[in-house]
Structure formats: C-alpha cells, structure tokens
C-alpha cells in the first residue's frame, strides 16, 4: 500500500518535473528572439525543412479529403434534394475542423517526428553539448528557429489544405456529379463567414504551438541512446496527436457554441 502511494508520488513528481522542463524550454525558445542577422537564415532554413517538405503530403491529402467529402456528402444530401448544400458542407467542415486538425496530425507525423529525431540525435552525438561549450546557446541556435518555423508554417499549410479540399470537392461535386456550379459557390459564399476562417486559423496556430512544442521538447529531453530517440519520436507523435484532438474539442466548444 505504502509502496503504491510512493509510486504515485514518484509519478506525479516526474510528470511535474517534465512539465516544468518543457515550460523552461518553451520560455527560453520564445524569449530568445533570435537576432535578425544570424537568426533569419536559420529560420528560413527551418521553414524549408518543416514547411516546404510537408507541402506535398498536405496538398495531396487536402485534395483527396475534399473529394471524398463531396462524394459522401452528395450521396446523403441528394436523397433530400439538398445537394445544393454540398458547397457549405464541405467548406465548413474543412475550414472549421478538417483543415486545422488533419493538417496538425499530418504535421505531427511528418515534421514533428523529424524534429524530435533530429534534435535527439544532435543530443546523442554531443552536438548540443558542443554548442554549449562553444558558448552558443543551443536553445537559441537549434530550438528557437525550429519552434518559430513550425508555428509559422502550420496555418499556411492548413489554408493550403482547405483551399485544395474545396477545389477537390468542386471537382467531384460540380464536374463529375453535376451539382450546379452557381449554386455550389453562391450557397457556400452565403453560409461561410470570415469568422470561420479566422477561427480555423486560430485553431491552427494553437495546434502549431502544441505540436512543435512537444516535438522540440521530446527531442531536447530524450535519453541520448538509439532506444531513447526512438521512444521520444514515437511519444512525440502520439502525444502531439492526442493533444491536438483534445484541444480541438475545447476550442470547438468555445468557438462554435
């Protein structure tokens, strides 16, 4: 009995300790705004590694998810003669939910895991230590540009995802299944509000924050062995995905009720 209580205590302490370290890393990454001359090229480089390299998967998934939504939505809506609502249905699902959420999940798998593994490997090969000994702060040099690049990339990726999804839905709904082109767009324009786009972007920023934070923290804090890195990478993706889904529920409850 006593041992179980002690175990619980140990667990809580280690969770709190981890949280504390994560917050410290976050604070120093944010507080150390990189100086522009040295920091900007690093930021651009990470924008490439994180944003540009995720582009293909985001574009392909966005288009296909839009196409599937249109196909599924059409078969249901046509029974009620409401296929005119296909446009807003697809646009609202993409802008409010699927765009930010699926982008964040794909991002966690594509870019988050790579971030964790890269930072973890830098730690294991003593590159982070050696930066410190060269009087270069690894938080500023390694963590901060990656964090900011992730934060900046995700909303852009989500917007690209959504617009391609709507394009895909147009392709299937209008070109293939024969929904009237005018109805498709005008009903969508009547029902979608600028607020939907802003809320979707806010969601996206929140997810970007959480996913990149978890990714850099897991990498920076991993046990520097091959097993430790593999575990850190897995848990980075798993935890980031769960956090995204949980956070999505909370944000949806706040924004759309």
């Amino acid at each position: 009995m006593l041992e179980k209580i002690q175990g619980l205590g140990q667990l809580s302490i280690s969770i709190l300790g981890g949280l504390g370290r994560a917050v410290l890393i976050l604070l120093s990454a944010i507080a150390h705004l990189p100086n522009f001359r040295k920091g900007f090229p690093l930021f651009v480089g990470q924008l490439y590694a994180i944003g540009v390299l995720s582009l293909i998967i985001i574009m392909v998934s966005g288009t296909f998810i839009g196409m599937v939504l249109a196909l599924q939505g059409y078969t249901v809506l046509v029974d009620y003669g409401a296929e005119g609502s296909l446009g807003p249905m697809v646009a609202l699902s993409l802008l409010r939910e699927l765009g930010p959420v699926v982008t964040a999940l794909l991002f966690a798998g594509r870019a988050g895991s790579a971030l964790t593994a890269e930072i973890g490997l830098m730690k294991a090969t003593e590159q982070l230590s050696s930066l410190e000994m060269m009087a270069v702060d690894p938080l500023r040099r390694v963590i901060a540009p990656r964090f900011w690049a992730g934060f900046f990339s995700m909303p852009l990726l989500a917007a690209i995802f959504s617009i391609l999804g709507i394009f895909g839905a147009h392709l299937v709904g209008v070109e293939w299944l024969g929904v009237d082109r005018g109805t498709f767009w005008s009903v969508m324009q009547a029902d979608v509000d600028l607020r939907d786009i802003i809320n979707g972007t806010i969601k996206s920023l929140a997810f970007a924050f959480v996913v990149t934070w978890i990714a850099v923290y897991k990498g920076y804090n991993c046990i520097p062995t091959s097993e430790g890195i593999s575990r850190a990478t897995t848990s980075s993706v798993v935890q980031a995905s769960l956090m995204v889904l949980g956070l999505d529920f909370i944000l949806t409850a706040i924004m759309f009720t």
């Binding site: 651009v44 917007a159 324009q189 979608v192 786009i197």
Partner: protein, 157 residues
C-alpha cells in the same frame, strides 16, 4: 543557404498567403458584403422554432441582416429576437412584418422580412433603430401542422 531553398521557401509562403486570400474572397465572399455597419431592431415571436443567433434576415431572398441575439422576455416568457440590419437598408416602415421560414424542406430557418407600405398621412413612419416590429408570424412547427391537418380531416367527415 542556397538559392534553391530560399526560392522554395518564398514560393511556400506565397502559396500560403494566396490560399488565405482565396479562402477569404472566393469561399467566404468577404469584402463584397462583409459585416459592415448595422442597426438593431427587435421583434417578439410566439415561437421561434429552430431559429439561431446569426441566422439570416432576408427580403425576397436577399440577405439584409442577421440575428444578433435571442432571449426570453422576463415577464411574459415570449422570445425576443434582436436583428442586426445593414445600415444601407434603413427605410423599412412600421407595417413591416416578419415570418420565420425554412430554406428548402429541411434547411436552416431564417427570418423573411416583408417591407410593408409607407403612408405618412396615416402616421406610419420608418422604423428607427431599437424599435419593435409588431407584426410577426411564428415558426411553423411540423407537429402542430400535422395535428391541424388531422383535425380538419376529422371535422370533414
């Protein structure tokens, strides 16, 4: 930092911004209608059915405003709906009537606004911001409609 990477990043950022613009203009149709200036009118209904905050107010199918709030009168417990009407439609008369309509068979409910007539000799004036619209028709509730239908069938026999 190679030129190729810089170019790709530039393209990526441009693509992202273009996507935002396309969403805003093409999908949400912002800028053309937007949420410009508006003034408020109130109306009491017996039953608002499935009306929601931000439902549209339409005149002959043209959106002239949105519902900004729905609350219950604290004395007689009837719903009070507040409408935000765009300022450019600012000369509805006091005889204006409102009815709660449904878009299609199962679509969203909205308020249909019938502008009514204007006659200064009879003392009928333009609605001022904050006025109440008196003439309202409640939402049609399907169950009541069916009930009425059955009742009239009965009395026919």
């Amino acid at each position: 930092m190679s030129k190729k990477i810089e170019l790709m990043v530039g393209l990526f950022v441009a693509l992202g911004i273009a996507a935002f613009l396309a969403l805003a203009i093409k999908v949400a149709d912002a800028g053309i209608q937007g949420n410009g200036e508006s003034y408020q009118l109130h109306a009491k209904f017996d039953n608002i059915g499935g009306l929601k905050v931000r439902s549209a107010v339409k005149v002959g199918g043209v959106v002239v405003g949105r519902i900004s709030s729905i609350r219950l009168d604290s004395e007689d417990y009837t719903p009070i709906v507040t409408l935000d009407i765009f300022t450019k439609y600012d000369n509805f008369s006091e005889t204006t009537s409102l009815s709660i309509l449904t878009a299609g068979l199962l679509g969203e409910q909205y308020i249909g606004l019938d502008p009514g007539f204007m006659d200064e000799e009879l003392g009928i004036e333009i609605l001022q911001p904050g006025d109440y619209i008196e003439d309202t028709k409640p939402a049609i509730v399907l169950e009541e409609l069916i009930g009425q239908f059955l009742f009239s069938q009965d009395s026919d026999n």
